[in-house]
């Protein structure tokens, strides 16, 4: 067991350390999220009722786009400097350290969004009671985005124009997450309760956690060949 966890922890620790040393890259994702969200009131106008109505959708789309912005970095550096080959030669199962990489990536790019979201929601005058649901939906949904995105990032690794292809590949897959994520807040405000939406998101997260690392591992093997 210890030997199984060894590479997992090594990858997690290294990726968090690298993120800390390259803090600027990480802040760009968060800044992008904040700026996109702040642009909407300028575009739509200061009508409070309207802003309140679009808030969940805006925050979710912004979170989705900022996730997309950082995805291509997930494996790119390791692919260039040869670390990826060494990891693939590790005797431990590939899906294990792939999960560690995605987890580190989410802690660095997804978690700040989840933390910033309630503050930004106040800009849109979202009801206080709905802030918890919004944060929870993002906390369950953004890891799904990271996991699905990792498969796309692995598939487009080393391709010319991979960034655009990655967006085309994963955005359709993000749609159900967006529907249930933004829908959770609407359902809470509409009085039907957000339980069903949140449970579906949680189920989606478990499903993605179980399946995507294997797809990712297969895609990475093809990418280095």
């Amino acid at each position: 067991m210890n030997s199984l966890l060894g590479p997992f922890l090594a990858v997690l620790r290294r990726d968090l350390m690298l993120a800390w040393r390259g803090r600027a890259d990480v802040l760009v994702t968060l800044a992008f999220f904040v700026v996109v969200v702040c642009l909407f009131p300028f575009g739509v106008g200061p009508e409070t009722n309207q802003l309140r109505a679009i808030a969940p959708g805006v925050l979710w789309v912004a979170a989705l786009l900022s996730t997309l912005l950082s995805l291509h970095r997930l494996f790119a550096q390791d692919h260039i400097d040869g670390t990826l080959e060494q990891l693939l030669l590790s005797p431990e199962p590939t899906p294990l350290w792939v999960t560690a990489k995605v987890m580190a990536h989410w802690i660095v790019t997804g978690l700040p969004l989840v933390i910033a979201a309630p503050g930004l929601a106040l800009l849109f005058d979202v009801e206080q009671g709905a802030l918890g649901v919004l944060t929870l939906s993002l906390a369950l949904g953004t890891p799904i985005l990271a996991l699905l995105g990792a498969v796309g990032a692995a598939l487009t690794l080393g391709l010319r124009g991979g960034g655009v292809l990655l967006a085309l590949l994963v955005l359709p897959l993000f749609v159900p997450v967006l529907i249930f994520g933004a829908g959770a807040v609407d359902a809470h405000l509409g009085g039907t309760g957000a339980d069903a939406h949140l449970l579906l998101l949680a189920g989606g997260l478990l499903g993605a956690l179980a399946l995507t690392p294997f797809a990712c591992a297969a895609a990475l093997r093809i990418a280095v060949e």
Binding site: A10, D81, G82, L88, L89, P91, W97, E225
Partner: protein, 208 residues
């Protein structure tokens, strides 16, 4: 210990080589020779399991390496063209990560000793981006000192960018590994000062 059976390699739509068979016993060192583009690196990657051969298979200790990947990779050390160093990490961090990720988990003191032995004692705390090409290669090669328990070493151009003393030292390390019963497969264009010149496999003979 290692058997390559009837390997063929296809790159794009060009067949690089076919019908390549070779058996290697314990204690043997093999140098893959041939001009640029003949498929030396491709062959090493096929032997390691990073790439699939178009035909044929690789057998390690009687078992097909594709069937028994985990066991095979526990006994293999592959050092490729690129040094697998991240620019933001120090040599010590890079070396420790390389060992941890491959399941070796050596003590920190052993890693420091390996880096000192390869001549990087003064650079242990510098980020890899300020190191020279040769120093980066040395960080990768320091793994050799920590991997004596892995019998099969596959090295792609290990002598590139090293100075004369380091080349001699590396050649001695490789010879010692073979004397201890290991197997070494390498490519190089240089004449390295081996005590006993390694067997040569000329890929030009099986090239298409």
């Amino acid at each position: 210990m290692l058997e390559a059976n009837d390997l063929a390699c296809l790159k794009g739509d060009r067949l690089l080589f076919r019908g390549l068979s070779r058996r290697m016993a314990s204690g043997e060192m093999l140098r893959i020779a041939g001009p640029n583009g003949v498929g030396k690196t491709s062959l090493l990657r096929i032997l390691c399991g990073l790439a699939m051969p178009e035909y044929g298979n690789v057998v390690w200790k009687g078992k097909d390496t594709r069937r028994d990947r985990e066991h095979f990779h526990r006994e293999l050390l592959y050092l490729g063209h690129s040094a697998a160093q991240n620019d933001l990490l120090t040599p010590l961090e890079n070396l420790r990560f390389a060992c941890d990720a491959s399941g070796d988990a050596p003590a920190e003191a052993d890693c420091v000793a390996a880096l000192e032995r390869i001549g990087l004692g003064a650079q242990i705390d510098l980020p890899a981006r300020v190191l020279s090409q040769g120093q980066r290669r040395r960080v990768g090669l320091a793994r050799l000192f920590l991997s004596s328990s892995r019998p099969l070493w596959v090295l792609d151009e290990p002598f590139t960018a090293l100075d004369v003393a380091a080349v001699a030292d590396l050649a001695a390390t490789l010879s010692r590994h073979c004397e201890a019963g290991g197997v070494v497969i390498l490519t190089t264009h240089q004449d390295a000062p081996f005590d006993k010149p390694p067997a040569v496999l000329d890929l030009a003979e099986v090239a298409c």
